[in-house]
Symmetry: C2
Subunit: 298 residues, 2 copies
């Protein structure tokens, strides 16, 4: 309690000192003489606060670094379909999800933990979009039903989503975002002061429009409610990509069908997944990756 | 002459065989029975032709490969400022431009060729946006005047533009595109049948909006005049990024000032360059990189 109070006082002092410094710089630069000192200090304080809400988009994990995401809020975006599947699985009552990079890792983990997780282990994921041989479930959100996953622990590996999580290993918090829980993501980010990084998973190193569309909708919504975000070029572009769907008045479903991922899924016979993935705000849960235990919980 | 005729006949036969094949597939898939055979063959032929005009955008050289660009028309895009500077230099009468990756390479090349190019060698380029020590000119388009470069050979190295060219080493043709010569680029691409790849240089591995805006304008213009292009996700997104500037009715100049590159140049004191770079269709020349001699000529 006392430590917290001490922290608050220190932070206020530092903030006030910086504010005075900025106020002086303003006064010198703009030759302000007549404005009252209080309102002037307030204006300078607002200006100072403007630069501290970073909101960046990264079109691929390869386009950022662990260092850049350190101490930030990172939203992992793999719309078709890992982000959505994880959200559906946790909404259906799965206890938690352990994400893995390789099939070997998840298989070994199951063998080692079969006696620890007596509630039962489900293996899920995909390679090339299809269910992995010997696994219980693929990567379709619809198959993660209550009957299948309630109370169970899931070992999960996908080609891109779980890889994107690796970049966020030093983040302050790691959220899983998709259209099914977009309002929960926005509510959380609106309360945050830490830098926000929206990390698109892409598909095997190729930028995918479905991920950028989601990132764009988040930037569009946050920047509309608070214009003081510091956006990188990718964030401005993502927002423009989403804003164009508003101008064209197309449905999210039709947009997602005409993306690299959407076309790939249609070819594989998973067209129904696209429709499911396009439904907004189905759940209010916020899957969060605990980087210490490397498990995702709601 | 006979070889050409033989080629035309063979191509027609192959095209007709494929058309018949697609027609049969259509007939089987859509259970078409009543439509007249001629109009049906024509429809199938049009469908077949739809897939042969590839138009792809790559936000960074790292997001594509030499293999993917093989036998294509590649447009190198480094709006702020290499593409623009090269166009201005050739328009001012420079004989040709040799692009190099490193400073050492361009300096050695000058030493080796001082007696070959008796018309005179100019060294130009930048590191960190600034003129390189010992070089004649920096990377501002405005300094490549007739007085400085007419009839001369230029050795040129920049951080990103010359690196992007390396990816296009196996391309059919390599063009240098910028807003200053955008109509010349569009006229050329409109006549082409080969796959088109618009290659954004970015800045040190970071995607830059000024390059994507140019690529977007090209996609927007080409796809408006011919809807049969096969676009990748990056092309659709670039087009949306450009289309948003039309919706917002902002000037290109104000958009470029608010990009990563634009802000960087303003900090370095090169704000005037942004205004120059934003001027469309100043020249009708089309700088082309000859991949055999590795030199750029108009």
């Amino acid at each position: 309690m006392y430590i917290y109070l001490f922290y608050i006082i220190c932070e206020s002092l530092v903030s006030l000192t910086l504010t005075c410094f900025v106020a002086c710089a303003y006064a010198y630069t703009y030759r302000i003489e007549r404005i009252g000192p209080l309102s002037f200090l307030l204006a300078a304080h607002v200006r100072l606060k403007m630069s501290d809400r970073v909101l960046e988009v990264h079109f691929l994990p390869e386009l950022t670094t662990e260092k850049a995401l350190e101490n930030s809020i990172v939203v992992i975006i793999d719309i078709l379909r890992a982000s959505t599947t994880i959200t559906y699985a946790l909404a259906a009552g799965a206890k938690c999800i352990y994400p893995f990079l390789t099939i070997n890792e998840v298989v070994s983990w199951k063998k080692e933990n079969i006696d620890t997780f007596t509630e039962g282990i489900i293996l899920g994921g995909e390679r090339g979009g299809k269910i992995i041989e010997g696994f219980d479930l693929g990567n379709s959100p619809s198959v993660y039903t209550e009957d299948e996953v309630r109370g169970k622990v899931i070992g999960f590996t996908t080609s891109n989503g779980t890889k994107a999580m690796q970049s966020a290993v030093h983040a302050k918090r790691v959220l899983i975002g998709c259209f099914s829980n977009i309002s929960a993501v926005l509510d959380d980010l609106n309360k945050e002061r830490a830098p926000i990084h929206l990390l698109c998973a892409g598909t095997n190193g190729v930028v995918t429009r479905e991920d950028v569309l989601f990132a764009g909708k988040v930037v569009h919504s946050l920047a509309n409610s608070d214009s003081n975000f510091c956006l990188n070029d990718e964030a401005i572009m993502a927002s423009a990509v989403y804003a164009q769907t508003l101008v064209k008045q197309t449905t999210l479903d039709s947009e997602l069908r005409n993306t690299l991922g959407g076309r790939g899924l249609t070819k594989l016979g998973y067209e129904d997944d696209i429709e499911l993935v396009s439904k907004e705000d189905v759940f209010s849960i916020l899957p969060t990756l605990d980087t210490k235990t490397w498990s995702i919980r709601r």
